[in-house]
């Protein structure tokens, strides 16, 4: 436990385990629902009774026919993005403003640790915690897929995992950056929620609401078309956009945090 990175991983071990179990449980439920969801006709009738704007919550019905696209559209595209998005914001707030609110940031900065190293090591720990928590999804899918007599190719599962991780890392980094740059929980939380909830609303309802379609590019989830990731692989442009937002947020946070007063 020599560095801020390893200290942070240790501090967050309970959080990591808890969210790993949470993600695994969610994935297990979705795997268990697969047989009833992909029976022809049953879900079609339900969707046809829904208002047009809410059909985006279900996604493309054709995706339900296959286990991999079912997981992509029903687990990774909707539920994980929302639930793990909340996890990403909580984690980012915990690693940025929470320590400063407790006065522990001053304790760390009283040691010969540069602000740059401190911020980068915390962010690195954030990336690892997020990844480990999300790993619960794939572990549960592979542990239980045999029970529903279906399977997803490992490379498709890895692609979904990596893109989910990248989208959530972007949300977490924007929130983390706001927290480190301002030291204010309210500001960081509002920014994180706007980015996540805004993206979710635009992506979910954009498919059915005409005027929202023009703003779909503003949603981070727009750059993670899960079913397409299963069918055609990861599109480099999407990775570049998400990685750029992450990198820019991190650079802005660094520039401000290196100079600002720490409470």
């Amino acid at each position: 436990m020599n560095s801020v990175f390893t200290k942070t991983l240790r501090d967050k071990r309970g959080f990591t385990l808890g969210w790993f179990v949470g993600c695994a449980t969610l994935a297990a439920l979705m795997v268990a629902f697969y047989p009833s969801m992909h029976q022809e006709g049953t879900i079609d009738q339900l969707v046809n009774t829904m208002p047009e704007a809410f059909k985006g919550l279900v996604g493309d019905l054709a995706d339900l026919a296959h286990f991999d696209t079912y997981l992509a559209s029903q687990l990774f595209d909707i539920r994980v993005s929302l639930l793990a998005g909340i996890m990403a914001i909580i984690l980012a707030l915990g690693l940025s403003v929470a320590e400063e609110e407790k006065g522990q940031l001053r304790t760390l900065l009283g040691l010969p640790i540069s602000r740059t190293a401190l911020l980068l090591q915390k962010w690195l720990a954030l990336t690892v915690v997020l990844f480990l928590a999300l790993l619960g999804l794939v572990v549960a899918i592979y542990a239980l897929q045999a029970t529903v007599d279906a399977s997803i190719a490992l490379d498709a599962a890895v692609r979904l995992l990596m893109m989910t991780w990248l989208v959530l890392l972007t949300i977490a980094t924007v929130t983390f950056a706001a927290g480190m740059a301002t030291g204010k929980r309210a500001i960081a939380m509002v920014i994180g929620i706007i980015v996540m909830a805004g993206s979710f609303i635009v992506s979910t309802f954009g498919a059915s609401v005409d005027w929202l379609k023009d703003f779909e590019w503003l949603s981070l989830f727009h750059y993670f078309p899960a079913s397409e990731v299963v069918r055609n692989g990861i599109e480099g442009g999407n990775v570049i956009i998400l990685a750029s937002i992450t990198l820019i947020s991190l650079i802005v946070a660094l520039l401000v945090f290196r100079r600002r007063d720490v409470n």
Binding site: K7, T107, I113
Partner: protein, 305 residues
């Protein structure tokens, strides 16, 4: 080894503003190698604000702060922390760690082998090494913070109210630790409300009030300025000695007069004067202490307001 003329801390016209409020106003002082400086003042005087600028947690609104000859900014403060350490009475230590884990974490940020020093400090402070910091009392957390501050034998130790939660035995251990560090050439800059402990170990005292340094006294100056504090309870209002009397205060309690004043003249003259005072009920003559100095600065202002 650092020569005693080397400036370790240099503040030049430092002001720190929060909106329109100036927490620190135009403060300048230099602390040289080997000095043990007591930094005293009432709550809100600006002591902690000054210390946060020294450590690079905050930056001054105006003026310059230097440690080891280098301007301290939030972005480069870690460089001066290679040679300095910090502990405060309400230091927020990582609660998930045990005492030992935190001390080793702090040790791992600096170079060198500090095992001998670690053993000495653990033997002296008897900290709860195996217990989680989150489960410790305030005093035990402070012991951990103090061991971590002194364990690397830094050139400068900055302490902010370091003994506010320690029991009297541990306060003595702390004072011995400061004396030992000073004997090795460590510079100590310590804010405290306990004037007695400041007077015991400090080679110099800075007295701060309303964001300004009001007094900057070496131990010698303090001793010279010292003199006596005379307190006299009499049945009649006494006539005070003509010379060498400072800050006399006479209070009437029904049929008694309580008179106190500072006295810097010959003791024999004082005794002769006392012999001539009639209706004496009680008398005490004590050395003038830092506490009297402190009260003098604060109470004189109160009187003027």
């Amino acid at each position: 080894m650092i020569k005693s003329t080397t400036a370790i801390i240099e503040l030049e016209n430092v002001t720190k503003r929060y909106g329109s409020f100036a927490a620190v106003s135009d403060v300048s002082f230099v602390v040289r190698a080997g000095e043990v400086v007591g930094f005293v003042g009432e709550n809100g005087a600006g002591k902690t604000t000054t210390i946060t600028m020294l450590l690079g947690f905050t930056s001054p609104s105006r003026g310059s702060v230097k440690l080891f000859g280098r301007e301290v900014r939030p972005s480069n403060a870690h460089k001066s922390h290679q040679n300095s350490s910090y502990a405060s009475g309400d230091m927020a230590l990582p609660e998930h760690m045990t005492g030992e884990q935190y001390i080793r974490f702090a040790l791992n940020q600096t170079a060198g082998d500090h095992r001998k020093r670690y053993d000495e400090l653990v033997a002296a402070f008897k900290p709860q090494l195996g217990k989680k910091i989150g489960d410790m009392s305030r005093g035990n957390k402070q012991k951990i913070a103090l061991v971590a501050a002194f364990v690397t034998s830094p050139k400068l130790v900055v302490l902010d109210e370091p003994t506010s939660g320690l029991d009297p035995v541990m306060q003595d251990v702390f004072l011995d630790t400061v004396r030992a560090a000073a004997a090795r050439g460590t510079t100590v800059f310590m804010s405290s409300h306990y004037l007695q402990e400041v007077a015991e170990v400090s080679t110099r005292v800075l007295l701060m009030k309303q964001g300004r340094i009001m007094e900057d006294l070496s131990a010698e100056q303090l001793a010279q300025r010292g003199g006596k504090i005379v307190t006299l309870v009499t049945r009649h209002r006494p006539t005070l000695p003509k010379d060498d009397v400072a800050e006399p205060v006479v209070t009437r309690h029904k049929e008694r007069y309580e008179t106190s004043f500072g006295y810097t003249g010959e003791l024999s003259v004082l005794i002769k004067w006392l012999a001539g005072v009639t209706g004496v009920i009680d008398v005490s003559i004590n050395d003038r202490t830092l506490e009297h100095e402190f009260r003098s600065v604060y109470e004189s202002e109160v009187g003027n307001e």
